[in-house]
C-alpha cells in the first residue's frame, strides 16, 4: 500500500534519506525505530509529501505522491493518509469536536450534521465523548493526542502514520494513546509508526524497520529484531534503549 522506491532526500549536502526501498502492505503494522536524527520523521513525512524528495518514488495505493501532480490531486491523496504528530497539532481555536468535524466538512464536503455525528462516534471510540466541547488547552496531553487520532480517522483514511505519538507525553498518559493505536491495529488498519515503545512494537508490529543515518539498516519481525538484531548499530541501539 505504501512503497518507497530508491528514495533519496538531501538537506543541502546532508543526506537525510539514502536509497530507501521498502513496502508497507495493506493491513500491515510497521514500527520504525532508530536513534535521534536517523531520518525517521523525514521518512514518514515523505509519504504524504510534507517533505519533498530529490529522487525516487513514494507510491500510495500505486500513485506516486511525489510525481508532478495537480495540487487538488495531492490534497485528495493526503486526505487518505492519516497523520498523527508528536506535538498533537490540534487546532487550538476549535473545540475537540470541531477539530474532528472541520476536515470532513470542509475538505470532503460531508454535511456538518453528518460530520458531527461521526465525530461524536470517533470521540467516543477514543474515550473522549465527555470532553467533546473542551478546547485543546483544557485537555491533557494524552487526551489531546487521542483527539488528534480521532481527527485523522474522521477522513476515513485507509492508512495511518504516527510520528512518535507518545514521546511528548507524561509517562502515565502513554498507555491510553497506545491502547487506541492497538485497537486500530486490531481492526486491520495499515499503520506506519515511528515509536520507541518496544512493548507496543513487540505486541502489535508485523515488522520493525531500524534506521540509522538516513538508511534502513535492518528489517524483521519483532521477534527477530528484538531477539537477535543482526546489525551492530541495531544491537547497540537496543542495548542503549534497554539500559534506560
Amino acid at each position: 500500500m505504501i512503497k518507497f522506491q530508491a528514495v533519496n532526500k538531501f538537506y543541502g549536502d546532508y543526506c537525510a534519506l539514502a536509497d530507501i526501498n521498502e513496502n508497507v502492505a495493506k493491513g500491515e503494522v510497521v514500527v520504525v525505530c532508530g536513534p535521534s536524527g536517523s531520518g525517521k520523521s523525514t521518512l514518514i513525512r515523505t509519504v504524504n509529501r510534507l517533505e519533498e524528495i530529490q529522487s525516487g518514488e513514494v507510491l500510495f495505493n500505486g500513485r506516486n505522491v511525489h510525481a508532478r501532480i495537480k495540487s487538488a490531486e495531492l490534497n485528495r491523496l493526503r486526505s487518505q493518509i492519516g497523520f498523527v504528530f508528536q506535538s498533537f497539532n490540534l487546532f487550538p481555536h476549535l473545540s475537540a469536536l470541531d477539530n474532528v468535524i472541520l476536515s470532513p466538512w470542509r475538505v470532503n464536503a460531508v454535511s456538518r450534521a453528518e460530520a458531527r455525528d461521526r465525530a461524536m462516534a470517533l470521540l467516543d471510540r477514543v474515550g473522549l465523548a465527555n470532553r467533546a466541547l473542551s478546547y485543546p488547552a483544557q485537555l491533557s496531553g494524552g487526551q489531546q493526542q487521542r483527539v488528534a487520532i480521532a481527527r485523522a480517522l474522521a477522513m476515513e483514511p485507509p492508512a495511518m502514520l504516527f510520528d512518535e505519538p507518545t514521546s511528548a507525553l507524561d509517562p502515565e498518559m502513554v498507555g491510553e494513546v497506545l491502547a487506541v493505536m492497538r485497537s486500530l491495529a486490531k481492526d486491520g488498519m495499515t499503520m506506519m509508526c515511528v515509536t520507541h515503545e518496544m512493548g507496543f512494537a513487540r505486541d502489535v508490529a508485523d515488522r520493525v524497520w531500524f534506521m540509522d543515518a538516513g538508511r534502513i539498516l535492518e528489517t524483521g519481525t519483532p521477534v527477530e529484531f528484538f531477539g537477535a538484531p543482526q546489525h551492530p548499530r541495531a544491537q547497540r541501539f537496543l542495548s542503549d534503549l534497554r539500559s534506560h
Binding site: 504524504n48 510534507l50 495540487s71 487538488a72 490534497n75 485528495r76 493526503r78 486526505s79 487518505q80 493518509i81 497523520f83 504528530f85 506535538s87 498533537f88 497539532n89 490540534l90 487546532f91 487550538p92 481555536h93 472541520l102 476536515s103 470542509r106 475538505v107 470532503n108 478546547y135 485543546p136 488547552a137 483544557q138 485537555l139 491533557s140 496531553g141 489531546q144 481527527r151 485523522a152 477522513m155 511528548a168 507525553l169 507524561d170
Partner: protein, 242 residues
C-alpha cells in the same frame, strides 16, 4: 483660563461634535471617527490580501505587494495625501471630495502597515498548524481560511486596535486638504475667536487623548485576556515548552 475653555466648549460643542451637519458636511469628532472606522474596516481586508501576496510562492504576487509595502512605509503620509489629492483628478479627470481622498489615502497607508502585522501574525503560528491542515487534505486556501487566519487574527486584535489609534491620529492630516474633521473644526473656532489658541488647542488635544487613551486601554485589556485564554486552565507543561 479653565473657564475660558469651558466657555468655548459650551458655545461650540455641537461644531466640535458633528461639524456643520446637517446644514453642511459632517465634521468634528463624528467625521474623525467615521473616517477612522471606515479606513480601518477597508484597510483590514486589503491588508490581509497584501500579507497573503507577500507570503505567496508566486513572485508575480509577492514582488508588487512587497514593493507597495516598502514604498508606502518609506514615504511620509502627507506626501501620499498630496499625491492622491493632486494626481487623482489629473489621471481620472474627476475631482474627488476631501473626505474620499483622505479615506483612500488612509486605506492605502494603514493597510500597508497592517499587512505587516497580519504577516507577522501568520508566520508566528507554529509550522505544525499548517502541516496538520495539509496532512488532512486542506488546500492552501482552505488551511489559511479555517486554520491559520482565525488564529492569527485573534492574536492580532490588540495590534489592529493600536493601528486604529494611529489611524485616528493620522486623520488630523486631513486638515491640509480641508477634510472637515475634528482638527478642522477646532481651527475654525480658533480663527473665529482669534485670541484663545491655547484653550482651543488644549480642548482639541484632550479630546484626541480621551479617545485614543481609552482605545489603548481596551487594546491592552484585550491582549491580557487573549494571553489568559491561550494559556488555558489545564495546559500541560510539555505543550508550552514546544
Amino acid at each position: 483660563m479653565l473657564s475660558n475653555a469651558i466657555g468655548i466648549i459650551q458655545d461650540n460643542w455641537l461644531l466640535l461634535l458633528i461639524g456643520q451637519y446637517p446644514n453642511g458636511p459632517l465634521g468634528g469628532v463624528a467625521a474623525t471617527l467615521l473616517l477612522s472606522v471606515l479606513a480601518i474596516l477597508l484597510a483590514f481586508p486589503f491588508s490581509v490580501l497584501v500579507a497573503l501576496a507577500r507570503l505567496s510562492h508566486l513572485w508575480a504576487l509577492r514582488i508588487p505587494a512587497t514593493a507597495l509595502v516598502y514604498g508606502v512605509r518609506g514615504i511620509p503620509l502627507l506626501m501620499i495625501i498630496f499625491w492622491v489629492y493632486f494626481m487623482f483628478p489629473l489621471l481620472f479627470g474627476i475631482s474627488v471630495p476631501g473626505f474620499a481622498t483622505m479615506l483612500c489615502t488612509l486605506v492605502l497607508y494603514e493597510g500597508a502597515f497592517l499587512s505587516e502585522v497580519v504577516r507577522a501574525g501568520i508566520t508566528a503560528l507554529p509550522a505544525g498548524q499548517m502541516d496538520a491542515a495539509r496532512a488532512l487534505g486542506h488546500s492552501y486556501g482552505s488551511a489559511m481560511r479555517f486554520v491559520i487566519l482565525p488564529q492569527a487574527l485573534v492574536n492580532m486584535l490588540p495590534s489592529i486596535l493600536s493601528q486604529f489609534v494611529s489611524t485616528i491620529q493620522d486623520t488630523t492630516l486631513g486638515y491640509v486638504i480641508n477634510v472637515p474633521e475634528l482638527t478642522f473644526a477646532a481651527n475654525q473656532i480658533n480663527n473665529r475667536l482669534l485670541t484663545k489658541p491655547f484653550e482651543v488647542f488644549l480642548i482639541l488635544a484632550l479630546t484626541y487623548y480621551a479617545i485614543c487613551f481609552s482605545l489603548t486601554q481596551l487594546a491592552s485589556w484585550l491582549e491580557r485576556s487573549i494571553a489568559t485564554r491561550r494559556a488555558g486552565p489545564a495546559m500541560p507543561k510539555l505543550v508550552l515548552a514546544q
